[in-house]
Protein backbone atom coordinates (compact mmCIF):
# COMPACT_ATOMS: atom_id res chain seq x y z
CA UNK A 1 0.00 0.00 0.00
CA UNK A 2 1.26 3.43 -0.89
CA UNK A 3 1.78 5.99 1.82
CA UNK A 4 -1.28 7.98 0.81
CA UNK A 5 -3.83 5.28 1.60
CA UNK A 6 -2.09 3.68 4.55
CA UNK A 7 -4.53 3.06 7.43
CA UNK A 8 -1.61 3.19 9.84
CA UNK A 9 -1.13 6.81 8.90
CA UNK A 10 -4.74 7.59 9.57
CA UNK A 11 -4.49 6.05 13.03
CA UNK A 12 -1.32 7.99 13.79
CA UNK A 13 -2.93 11.12 12.41
CA UNK A 14 -5.98 10.75 14.63
CA UNK A 15 -3.70 10.22 17.61
CA UNK A 16 -1.72 13.37 16.88
CA UNK A 17 -4.96 15.18 16.09
CA UNK A 18 -6.34 14.27 19.51
CA UNK A 19 -3.44 16.01 21.20
CA UNK A 20 -3.73 19.03 18.92
CA UNK A 21 -7.46 19.15 19.59
CA UNK A 22 -7.02 19.37 23.35
CA UNK A 23 -4.57 22.26 22.90
CA UNK A 24 -6.55 23.97 20.14
CA UNK A 25 -9.67 24.09 22.31
CA UNK A 26 -7.93 26.28 24.87
CA UNK A 27 -6.79 28.69 22.17
CA UNK A 28 -10.22 28.89 20.70
CA UNK A 29 -12.14 29.22 23.96
CA UNK A 30 -9.90 31.97 25.26
CA UNK A 31 -10.01 33.75 21.93
CA UNK A 32 -13.77 33.40 21.86
CA UNK A 33 -14.25 34.92 25.25
CA UNK A 34 -11.62 37.68 25.40
CA UNK A 35 -10.44 37.93 21.77
CA UNK A 36 -6.91 37.19 22.89
CA UNK A 37 -4.51 34.85 21.14
CA UNK A 38 -2.89 33.42 24.20
CA UNK A 39 0.60 32.65 22.99
CA UNK A 40 1.47 31.16 26.36
CA UNK A 41 -1.05 28.39 25.83
CA UNK A 42 1.55 26.00 24.37
CA UNK A 43 3.51 26.44 27.58
CA UNK A 44 0.54 25.30 29.65
CA UNK A 45 0.80 22.11 27.61
CA UNK A 46 4.49 21.82 28.49
CA UNK A 47 3.72 22.42 32.17
CA UNK A 48 1.17 19.63 32.04
CA UNK A 49 3.85 17.25 30.77
CA UNK A 50 6.26 18.25 33.57
CA UNK A 51 3.51 18.07 36.21
CA UNK A 52 2.72 14.56 34.98
CA UNK A 53 6.39 13.67 35.12
CA UNK A 54 6.67 14.90 38.72
CA UNK A 55 3.40 13.28 39.74
CA UNK A 56 4.53 9.95 38.35
CA UNK A 57 7.64 9.90 40.53
CA UNK A 58 5.75 11.21 43.54
CA UNK A 59 3.04 8.55 43.43
CA UNK A 60 4.68 5.64 41.64
CA UNK A 61 5.84 3.89 44.81
CA UNK A 62 2.64 4.67 46.69
CA UNK A 63 0.26 3.00 44.24
CA UNK A 64 2.78 0.46 42.97
CA UNK A 65 1.34 -1.93 40.46
CA UNK A 66 -2.02 -0.25 40.01
CA UNK A 67 -1.37 1.34 36.65
CA UNK A 68 -4.88 2.67 36.12
CA UNK A 69 -4.99 4.45 39.47
CA UNK A 70 -1.55 5.92 38.89
CA UNK A 71 -2.45 7.14 35.40
CA UNK A 72 -5.62 8.73 36.72
CA UNK A 73 -3.79 10.55 39.53
CA UNK A 74 -1.17 11.76 37.06
CA UNK A 75 -3.86 12.98 34.66
CA UNK A 76 -5.68 14.90 37.40
CA UNK A 77 -2.46 16.51 38.61
CA UNK A 78 -1.38 17.46 35.08
CA UNK A 79 -4.76 19.04 34.39
CA UNK A 80 -4.94 20.82 37.74
CA UNK A 81 -1.42 22.22 37.44
CA UNK A 82 -1.88 23.60 33.94
CA UNK A 83 -5.31 24.93 34.86
CA UNK A 84 -3.83 26.79 37.85
CA UNK A 85 -1.06 28.30 35.75
CA UNK A 86 -3.55 29.38 33.08
CA UNK A 87 -5.78 30.88 35.76
CA UNK A 88 -2.83 32.71 37.28
CA UNK A 89 -1.62 34.03 33.91
CA UNK A 90 -5.07 35.47 33.34
CA UNK A 91 -5.26 37.03 36.80
CA UNK A 92 -1.78 38.52 36.83
CA UNK A 93 -1.04 39.33 33.20
CA UNK A 94 -4.19 39.55 31.10
CA UNK A 95 -6.88 40.88 33.42
CA UNK A 96 -5.14 44.19 34.19
CA UNK A 97 -4.92 44.84 30.44
CA UNK A 98 -8.45 43.73 29.60
CA UNK A 99 -9.72 47.13 28.46
CA UNK A 100 -6.42 48.38 27.07
CA UNK A 101 -5.54 48.17 23.36
CA UNK A 102 -5.45 44.57 22.11
CA UNK A 103 -1.81 44.82 21.14
CA UNK A 104 -0.78 45.18 24.81
CA UNK A 105 -2.31 41.83 25.76
CA UNK A 106 -0.85 40.17 22.70
CA UNK A 107 2.64 41.32 23.56
CA UNK A 108 2.06 40.38 27.18
CA UNK A 109 1.03 36.89 26.08
CA UNK A 110 4.33 36.51 24.24
CA UNK A 111 6.06 37.78 27.39
CA UNK A 112 4.24 35.26 29.58
CA UNK A 113 5.23 32.50 27.18
CA UNK A 114 8.90 33.42 27.20
CA UNK A 115 8.85 33.91 30.95
CA UNK A 116 7.54 30.39 31.50
CA UNK A 117 9.98 28.83 29.05
CA UNK A 118 13.08 30.59 30.37
CA UNK A 119 12.04 30.26 33.99
CA UNK A 120 11.61 26.53 33.52
CA UNK A 121 14.95 26.20 31.78
CA UNK A 122 16.73 28.19 34.45
CA UNK A 123 15.08 26.37 37.33
CA UNK A 124 17.67 23.85 38.51
CA UNK A 125 15.17 21.07 39.25
CA UNK A 126 13.94 21.24 35.67
CA UNK A 127 16.74 22.49 33.46
CA UNK A 128 16.90 23.17 29.77
CA UNK A 129 17.70 19.66 28.60
CA UNK A 130 15.52 16.82 27.40
CA UNK A 131 14.13 14.30 29.83
CA UNK A 132 12.87 10.84 29.07
CA UNK A 133 9.23 10.60 30.03
CA UNK A 134 8.51 7.55 32.20
CA UNK A 135 6.38 4.74 30.91
CA UNK A 136 3.29 5.34 33.00
CA UNK A 137 1.26 2.78 31.10
CA UNK A 138 3.37 0.07 29.46
CA UNK A 139 2.92 0.07 25.72
CA UNK A 140 1.15 -2.88 24.17
CA UNK A 141 0.55 -3.30 20.46
CA UNK A 142 -2.61 -4.67 18.95
CA UNK A 143 -2.35 -5.84 15.35
CA UNK A 144 -5.34 -5.22 13.16
CA UNK A 145 -4.60 -6.41 9.65
CA UNK A 146 -1.66 -4.40 8.36
CA UNK A 147 -2.05 -1.70 11.00
CA UNK A 148 -0.68 -1.58 14.51
CA UNK A 149 -2.77 0.08 17.17
CA UNK A 150 -1.04 0.55 20.47
CA UNK A 151 -2.96 0.88 23.69
CA UNK A 152 -1.56 4.43 23.84
CA UNK A 153 -3.44 5.31 20.67
CA UNK A 154 -6.66 4.11 22.24
CA UNK A 155 -5.92 6.02 25.43
CA UNK A 156 -5.12 9.23 23.56
CA UNK A 157 -8.29 8.96 21.48
CA UNK A 158 -10.45 8.05 24.47
CA UNK A 159 -9.18 10.74 26.81
CA UNK A 160 -9.59 13.39 24.10
CA UNK A 161 -13.06 12.13 23.19
CA UNK A 162 -14.27 12.09 26.80
CA UNK A 163 -12.96 15.58 27.48
CA UNK A 164 -14.41 16.95 24.25
CA UNK A 165 -17.82 15.41 24.86
CA UNK A 166 -17.76 16.78 28.40
CA UNK A 167 -16.87 20.23 27.14
CA UNK A 168 -19.59 20.15 24.50
CA UNK A 169 -22.19 19.19 27.10
CA UNK A 170 -20.92 21.88 29.45
CA UNK A 171 -21.11 24.61 26.83
CA UNK A 172 -24.41 23.50 25.26
CA UNK A 173 -26.40 22.34 28.24
CA UNK A 174 -25.34 23.99 31.48
CA UNK A 175 -26.18 27.50 32.61
CA UNK A 176 -22.49 28.22 33.08
CA UNK A 177 -21.87 27.12 29.49
CA UNK A 178 -24.62 29.40 28.27
CA UNK A 179 -23.04 32.20 30.26
CA UNK A 180 -19.72 31.48 28.54
CA UNK A 181 -21.40 31.79 25.16
CA UNK A 182 -23.19 34.95 26.26
CA UNK A 183 -19.97 36.58 27.47
CA UNK A 184 -18.26 35.65 24.21
CA UNK A 185 -21.04 37.33 22.22
CA UNK A 186 -21.74 40.49 24.16
CA UNK A 187 -19.97 41.40 27.38
CA UNK A 188 -22.20 44.36 28.24
CA UNK A 189 -25.39 42.39 27.74
CA UNK A 190 -23.95 39.57 29.85
CA UNK A 191 -23.16 42.02 32.65
CA UNK A 192 -26.72 43.33 32.47
CA UNK A 193 -27.94 39.78 33.10
CA UNK A 194 -25.96 39.97 36.35
CA UNK A 195 -23.18 37.71 35.10
CA UNK A 196 -19.78 38.31 36.69
CA UNK A 197 -17.85 38.19 33.44
CA UNK A 198 -14.45 38.01 35.13
CA UNK A 199 -15.58 34.83 36.89
CA UNK A 200 -16.67 33.34 33.57
CA UNK A 201 -13.39 34.36 31.92
CA UNK A 202 -11.38 32.80 34.77
CA UNK A 203 -13.37 29.63 34.41
CA UNK A 204 -12.64 29.56 30.67
CA UNK A 205 -8.91 29.84 31.34
CA UNK A 206 -9.18 27.03 33.88
CA UNK A 207 -10.84 24.69 31.38
CA UNK A 208 -8.48 25.64 28.57
CA UNK A 209 -5.48 25.12 30.86
CA UNK A 210 -6.79 21.78 32.10
CA UNK A 211 -7.19 20.53 28.54
CA UNK A 212 -3.67 21.63 27.66
CA UNK A 213 -2.43 19.80 30.78
CA UNK A 214 -4.14 16.61 29.69
CA UNK A 215 -2.57 17.02 26.25
CA UNK A 216 0.83 17.43 27.92
CA UNK A 217 0.46 14.10 29.68
CA UNK A 218 -0.75 12.32 26.53
CA UNK A 219 2.07 13.80 24.48
CA UNK A 220 4.59 12.73 27.12
CA UNK A 221 3.30 9.17 27.03
CA UNK A 222 3.08 9.05 23.25
CA UNK A 223 6.30 10.83 22.30
CA UNK A 224 8.28 10.18 25.50
CA UNK A 225 10.67 13.10 25.57
CA UNK A 226 9.96 16.39 27.32
CA UNK A 227 11.78 19.73 27.49
CA UNK A 228 10.87 23.31 28.42
CA UNK A 229 10.40 24.43 24.82
CA UNK A 230 8.27 21.47 23.82
CA UNK A 231 5.13 23.63 23.84
CA UNK A 232 6.20 26.02 21.12
CA UNK A 233 5.63 23.96 17.98
CA UNK A 234 2.57 21.98 19.07
CA UNK A 235 1.17 25.25 20.42
CA UNK A 236 1.63 26.96 17.07
CA UNK A 237 0.19 24.02 15.18
CA UNK A 238 -2.80 23.77 17.49
CA UNK A 239 -3.34 27.50 17.06
CA UNK A 240 -3.29 27.01 13.30
CA UNK A 241 -5.76 24.14 13.72
CA UNK A 242 -8.04 26.52 15.62
CA UNK A 243 -7.73 29.09 12.82
CA UNK A 244 -8.40 26.37 10.27
CA UNK A 245 -11.62 25.41 12.07
CA UNK A 246 -12.61 29.04 12.63
CA UNK A 247 -11.06 30.60 15.70
CA UNK A 248 -13.55 30.96 18.51
CA UNK A 249 -15.56 27.99 17.34
CA UNK A 250 -15.36 24.86 19.50
CA UNK A 251 -16.36 22.16 16.99
CA UNK A 252 -14.16 23.99 14.50
CA UNK A 253 -11.10 23.59 16.71
CA UNK A 254 -11.75 19.84 17.00
CA UNK A 255 -12.23 19.46 13.25
CA UNK A 256 -9.20 21.61 12.43
CA UNK A 257 -7.02 19.66 14.85
CA UNK A 258 -7.87 16.26 13.35
CA UNK A 259 -7.35 17.55 9.81
CA UNK A 260 -4.03 18.96 10.94
CA UNK A 261 -2.98 15.75 12.67
CA UNK A 262 -3.79 13.63 9.64
CA UNK A 263 -2.24 16.07 7.17
CA UNK A 264 0.94 16.22 9.19
CA UNK A 265 1.22 12.46 9.54
CA UNK A 266 0.70 11.89 5.83
CA UNK A 267 3.10 14.63 4.86
CA UNK A 268 5.74 13.34 7.28
CA UNK A 269 5.48 9.87 5.82
CA UNK A 270 6.28 11.45 2.50
CA UNK A 271 9.03 13.72 3.75
CA UNK A 272 9.68 14.76 7.33
CA UNK A 273 10.49 18.36 6.42
CA UNK A 274 7.23 18.72 4.55
CA UNK A 275 5.55 17.22 7.60
CA UNK A 276 6.93 19.97 9.78
CA UNK A 277 5.99 22.64 7.27
CA UNK A 278 2.50 21.48 6.31
CA UNK A 279 0.86 23.33 9.22
CA UNK A 280 2.20 26.63 7.99
CA UNK A 281 1.16 25.88 4.43
CA UNK A 282 -2.33 25.20 5.76
CA UNK A 283 -2.29 28.50 7.64
CA UNK A 284 -1.39 30.45 4.54
CA UNK A 285 -4.02 28.63 2.48
CA UNK A 286 -6.74 29.28 5.06
CA UNK A 287 -5.86 32.93 5.34
CA UNK A 288 -5.93 33.28 1.56
CA UNK A 289 -9.00 31.21 0.76
CA UNK A 290 -11.24 31.24 3.80
CA UNK A 291 -9.99 33.56 6.56
CA UNK A 292 -13.01 32.78 8.75
CA UNK A 293 -11.97 29.11 8.86
CA UNK A 294 -14.02 26.04 7.99
CA UNK A 295 -16.79 26.52 10.55
CA UNK A 296 -16.29 30.20 11.30
CA UNK A 297 -19.14 32.42 10.25
CA UNK A 298 -20.00 36.01 10.88
CA UNK A 299 -22.41 35.17 13.66
CA UNK A 300 -20.75 32.03 14.93
CA UNK A 301 -20.58 31.31 18.63
CA UNK A 302 -17.25 32.89 19.35
CA UNK A 303 -16.51 30.38 22.05
Amino acid sequence: MGPLINPQQIINGLQLGSIYALIALGYTMVYGIVRLINFAHGDFFMIGAYAAYAAFFAFNAMVAGRTGTLAFIVLVIAMATSASVAWLANKLAYKPLRYKPKLSSLITAIGVSMFIEYFFSAFPAIGASYRAFPEIIPRRDIHIGPAVVSNLVLIDLAVAAILMIGLTLLVRRTTLGKAMRAVSQDKDAARLMGIDIEMVISFTFLIGGAFAGAAGLLAGMTYPRIFPYMGILPGLKAFIAAVLGGIGNIPGAMLGAYIMGIAETFASAYNSLIGEGIAFAILILVLLIRPTGLLGEKIADKI
Binding site: T175, K178, Q185, D186, D188, R191, I195, I299
Partner: protein, 234 residues
Amino acid sequence: MLSVKNLKVCYGKIEALKDVSFEVPKGKIVTLIGANGAGKTTTLRAISGLEKVTSGTITFKDRDITNLDAHKIVPLGISHVPEGRKIFPTLTVKENLELAGWTIRDKAEVRRRMEEVYDIFPRIRERANQLGGTLSGGEQQMLAVGRALVTGGELLLLDEPSMGLAPVLVDEIFNQIVAINKRGITVLLVEQNASEALDIADYAYILEVGYTTISGEAKAIAEDQRVREAYLGV
Protein backbone atom coordinates in the same frame (compact mmCIF):
# COMPACT_ATOMS: atom_id res chain seq x y z
CA MET B 1 -36.10 55.43 44.49
CA LEU B 2 -33.21 56.50 42.24
CA SER B 3 -31.34 59.70 42.73
CA VAL B 4 -28.56 60.94 40.46
CA LYS B 5 -26.53 63.93 41.66
CA ASN B 6 -23.98 65.97 39.70
CA LEU B 7 -23.00 63.02 37.60
CA LYS B 8 -19.88 63.34 35.48
CA VAL B 9 -18.71 60.58 33.13
CA CYS B 10 -15.73 60.73 30.77
CA TYR B 11 -14.60 58.62 27.83
CA GLY B 12 -10.90 59.30 27.90
CA LYS B 13 -10.66 63.06 27.53
CA ILE B 14 -14.24 63.48 26.32
CA GLU B 15 -16.68 64.55 29.01
CA ALA B 16 -19.87 62.84 27.90
CA LEU B 17 -21.77 63.85 31.05
CA LYS B 18 -20.79 67.09 32.71
CA ASP B 19 -23.44 67.70 35.34
CA VAL B 20 -26.47 65.46 35.32
CA SER B 21 -28.93 65.38 38.22
CA PHE B 22 -32.40 63.90 38.44
CA GLU B 23 -34.75 61.90 40.60
CA VAL B 24 -36.89 58.88 39.80
CA PRO B 25 -39.66 58.49 42.39
CA LYS B 26 -40.96 55.03 43.19
CA GLY B 27 -43.79 53.80 40.99
CA LYS B 28 -43.47 56.56 38.39
CA ILE B 29 -42.39 56.77 34.79
CA VAL B 30 -39.63 59.31 34.28
CA THR B 31 -38.34 60.15 30.85
CA LEU B 32 -34.99 61.56 29.84
CA ILE B 33 -35.17 63.35 26.51
CA GLY B 34 -32.29 64.58 24.43
CA ALA B 35 -30.81 64.83 20.96
CA ASN B 36 -28.21 62.47 19.53
CA GLY B 37 -25.06 62.52 21.59
CA ALA B 38 -26.66 64.34 24.51
CA GLY B 39 -25.55 61.59 26.90
CA LYS B 40 -28.74 59.59 27.43
CA THR B 41 -27.16 56.19 26.89
CA THR B 42 -24.14 57.15 28.96
CA THR B 43 -26.42 58.10 31.85
CA LEU B 44 -28.17 54.72 31.83
CA ARG B 45 -24.87 52.88 31.48
CA ALA B 46 -23.46 54.73 34.48
CA ILE B 47 -26.51 53.81 36.56
CA SER B 48 -26.28 50.11 35.78
CA GLY B 49 -22.52 50.02 36.32
CA LEU B 50 -21.39 49.55 32.73
CA GLU B 51 -19.52 52.86 32.73
CA LYS B 52 -17.22 54.25 35.42
CA VAL B 53 -18.31 57.50 37.03
CA THR B 54 -15.75 60.31 37.33
CA SER B 55 -17.65 62.24 39.99
CA GLY B 56 -21.12 62.61 41.41
CA THR B 57 -23.30 60.03 43.11
CA ILE B 58 -25.96 57.52 42.18
CA THR B 59 -28.23 56.40 45.01
CA PHE B 60 -30.70 53.55 44.65
CA LYS B 61 -33.13 52.74 47.47
CA ASP B 62 -30.97 54.82 49.85
CA ARG B 63 -27.86 52.92 48.93
CA ASP B 64 -24.87 54.47 47.20
CA ILE B 65 -24.28 52.38 44.07
CA THR B 66 -21.80 54.71 42.37
CA ASN B 67 -19.14 52.65 40.58
CA LEU B 68 -20.43 49.34 41.86
CA ASP B 69 -19.85 46.46 39.40
CA ALA B 70 -22.76 45.83 37.05
CA HIS B 71 -23.25 42.25 38.25
CA LYS B 72 -23.65 43.52 41.80
CA ILE B 73 -26.18 46.18 40.81
CA VAL B 74 -28.51 43.80 38.97
CA PRO B 75 -29.53 41.82 42.06
CA LEU B 76 -30.21 45.06 43.95
CA GLY B 77 -33.14 45.57 41.61
CA ILE B 78 -32.15 47.48 38.47
CA SER B 79 -32.88 45.97 35.05
CA HIS B 80 -31.51 47.69 31.97
CA VAL B 81 -32.78 47.22 28.42
CA PRO B 82 -29.78 48.54 26.52
CA GLU B 83 -29.58 50.59 23.35
CA GLY B 84 -29.67 48.27 20.34
CA ARG B 85 -31.27 45.50 22.47
CA LYS B 86 -28.13 43.38 22.64
CA ILE B 87 -29.85 40.04 22.24
CA PHE B 88 -27.42 37.08 22.30
CA PRO B 89 -27.61 36.10 18.63
CA THR B 90 -26.64 32.42 18.81
CA LEU B 91 -28.56 31.65 21.97
CA THR B 92 -32.20 30.71 21.56
CA VAL B 93 -34.96 33.02 22.76
CA LYS B 94 -35.51 30.66 25.68
CA GLU B 95 -31.81 30.64 26.56
CA ASN B 96 -31.74 34.44 26.41
CA LEU B 97 -34.54 34.51 28.97
CA GLU B 98 -32.96 31.82 31.15
CA LEU B 99 -29.73 33.77 31.39
CA ALA B 100 -31.65 36.83 32.52
CA GLY B 101 -32.45 34.79 35.63
CA TRP B 102 -28.75 34.24 36.35
CA THR B 103 -28.80 35.98 39.73
CA ILE B 104 -32.00 34.28 40.89
CA ARG B 105 -31.37 31.15 42.97
CA ASP B 106 -34.89 29.80 42.74
CA LYS B 107 -35.07 28.41 39.20
CA ALA B 108 -38.80 27.68 39.55
CA GLU B 109 -39.25 31.42 40.01
CA VAL B 110 -37.27 32.03 36.81
CA ARG B 111 -39.55 29.65 34.91
CA ARG B 112 -42.63 31.39 36.37
CA ARG B 113 -41.33 34.78 35.19
CA MET B 114 -40.54 33.36 31.76
CA GLU B 115 -44.16 32.18 31.50
CA GLU B 116 -45.24 35.70 32.41
CA VAL B 117 -43.08 37.13 29.62
CA TYR B 118 -44.57 34.62 27.18
CA ASP B 119 -48.05 35.76 28.27
CA ILE B 120 -47.20 39.41 27.74
CA PHE B 121 -45.49 38.80 24.40
CA PRO B 122 -47.12 35.77 22.69
CA ARG B 123 -44.84 36.31 19.67
CA ILE B 124 -41.88 35.53 21.91
CA ARG B 125 -43.47 32.29 23.08
CA GLU B 126 -43.95 31.19 19.46
CA ARG B 127 -40.27 31.80 18.82
CA ALA B 128 -38.91 30.30 22.02
CA ASN B 129 -36.62 27.84 20.26
CA GLN B 130 -35.48 30.18 17.52
CA LEU B 131 -32.04 31.82 17.68
CA GLY B 132 -32.07 35.35 19.05
CA GLY B 133 -30.24 36.65 15.98
CA THR B 134 -33.06 35.54 13.68
CA LEU B 135 -35.75 37.68 15.37
CA SER B 136 -37.09 40.81 13.72
CA GLY B 137 -36.27 44.18 15.26
CA GLY B 138 -39.62 44.39 17.01
CA GLU B 139 -39.36 40.86 18.37
CA GLN B 140 -35.85 41.57 19.61
CA GLN B 141 -37.17 44.58 21.47
CA MET B 142 -39.86 42.43 23.06
CA LEU B 143 -37.26 39.86 24.04
CA ALA B 144 -35.02 42.56 25.48
CA VAL B 145 -37.88 43.84 27.63
CA GLY B 146 -38.74 40.22 28.46
CA ARG B 147 -35.22 39.59 29.71
CA ALA B 148 -35.43 42.63 31.95
CA LEU B 149 -38.71 41.31 33.38
CA VAL B 150 -37.10 37.96 34.16
CA THR B 151 -34.20 39.78 35.83
CA GLY B 152 -37.01 41.31 37.82
CA GLY B 153 -35.70 44.72 38.86
CA GLU B 154 -37.98 47.17 40.64
CA LEU B 155 -36.45 49.84 38.43
CA LEU B 156 -36.49 49.35 34.67
CA LEU B 157 -34.09 51.38 32.52
CA LEU B 158 -35.19 51.56 28.88
CA ASP B 159 -32.86 52.98 26.22
CA GLU B 160 -34.81 54.09 23.15
CA PRO B 161 -37.20 51.13 22.98
CA SER B 162 -38.93 52.65 19.95
CA MET B 163 -35.78 52.89 17.86
CA GLY B 164 -36.19 51.44 14.38
CA LEU B 165 -39.73 50.18 14.95
CA ALA B 166 -42.78 50.71 12.76
CA PRO B 167 -45.38 53.07 14.31
CA VAL B 168 -47.76 50.23 15.20
CA LEU B 169 -45.03 48.45 17.09
CA VAL B 170 -43.98 51.66 18.82
CA ASP B 171 -47.52 51.96 20.16
CA GLU B 172 -47.48 48.35 21.29
CA ILE B 173 -44.17 48.75 23.11
CA PHE B 174 -45.30 51.97 24.81
CA ASN B 175 -48.56 50.29 25.88
CA GLN B 176 -46.52 47.47 27.38
CA ILE B 177 -44.33 49.96 29.23
CA VAL B 178 -47.43 51.50 30.79
CA ALA B 179 -48.73 48.04 31.67
CA ILE B 180 -45.42 47.06 33.26
CA ASN B 181 -45.42 50.29 35.25
CA LYS B 182 -48.98 49.57 36.47
CA ARG B 183 -47.63 46.35 37.98
CA GLY B 184 -45.50 48.45 40.28
CA ILE B 185 -42.25 48.67 38.34
CA THR B 186 -40.63 52.10 38.26
CA VAL B 187 -39.48 53.14 34.78
CA LEU B 188 -36.69 55.40 33.57
CA LEU B 189 -37.26 55.85 29.85
CA VAL B 190 -34.73 57.38 27.49
CA GLU B 191 -36.19 58.54 24.19
CA GLN B 192 -35.69 60.69 21.15
CA ASN B 193 -39.31 60.04 20.32
CA ALA B 194 -40.25 62.86 22.69
CA SER B 195 -43.98 63.19 22.13
CA GLU B 196 -44.72 59.50 22.77
CA ALA B 197 -42.46 59.46 25.81
CA LEU B 198 -44.04 62.61 27.30
CA ASP B 199 -47.47 61.06 26.74
CA ILE B 200 -46.85 58.17 29.09
CA ALA B 201 -44.38 59.74 31.55
CA ASP B 202 -45.08 61.38 34.90
CA TYR B 203 -41.89 63.46 34.96
CA ALA B 204 -39.43 64.51 32.31
CA TYR B 205 -35.88 65.84 32.17
CA ILE B 206 -34.22 67.38 29.16
CA LEU B 207 -30.61 66.42 28.63
CA GLU B 208 -28.43 68.73 26.55
CA VAL B 209 -24.78 67.96 25.76
CA GLY B 210 -24.06 66.50 29.16
CA TYR B 211 -26.28 68.72 31.31
CA THR B 212 -29.80 68.21 32.63
CA THR B 213 -31.43 71.54 31.80
CA ILE B 214 -35.22 71.63 31.90
CA SER B 215 -37.27 69.41 34.19
CA GLY B 216 -40.79 69.06 35.49
CA GLU B 217 -44.04 67.17 35.17
CA ALA B 218 -44.31 65.57 31.76
CA LYS B 219 -47.51 67.49 30.96
CA ALA B 220 -45.88 70.82 31.71
CA ILE B 221 -42.77 69.91 29.73
CA ALA B 222 -44.92 68.99 26.75
CA GLU B 223 -46.32 72.54 26.85
CA ASP B 224 -42.94 74.22 27.32
CA GLN B 225 -42.20 76.44 24.32
CA ARG B 226 -38.46 75.64 24.20
CA VAL B 227 -39.14 71.92 24.34
CA ARG B 228 -41.86 72.17 21.71
CA GLU B 229 -39.51 73.87 19.31
CA ALA B 230 -36.48 71.69 19.92
CA TYR B 231 -37.95 68.23 20.46
CA LEU B 232 -41.56 68.17 19.31
CA GLY B 233 -41.09 69.96 16.02
CA VAL B 234 -43.85 72.51 16.57
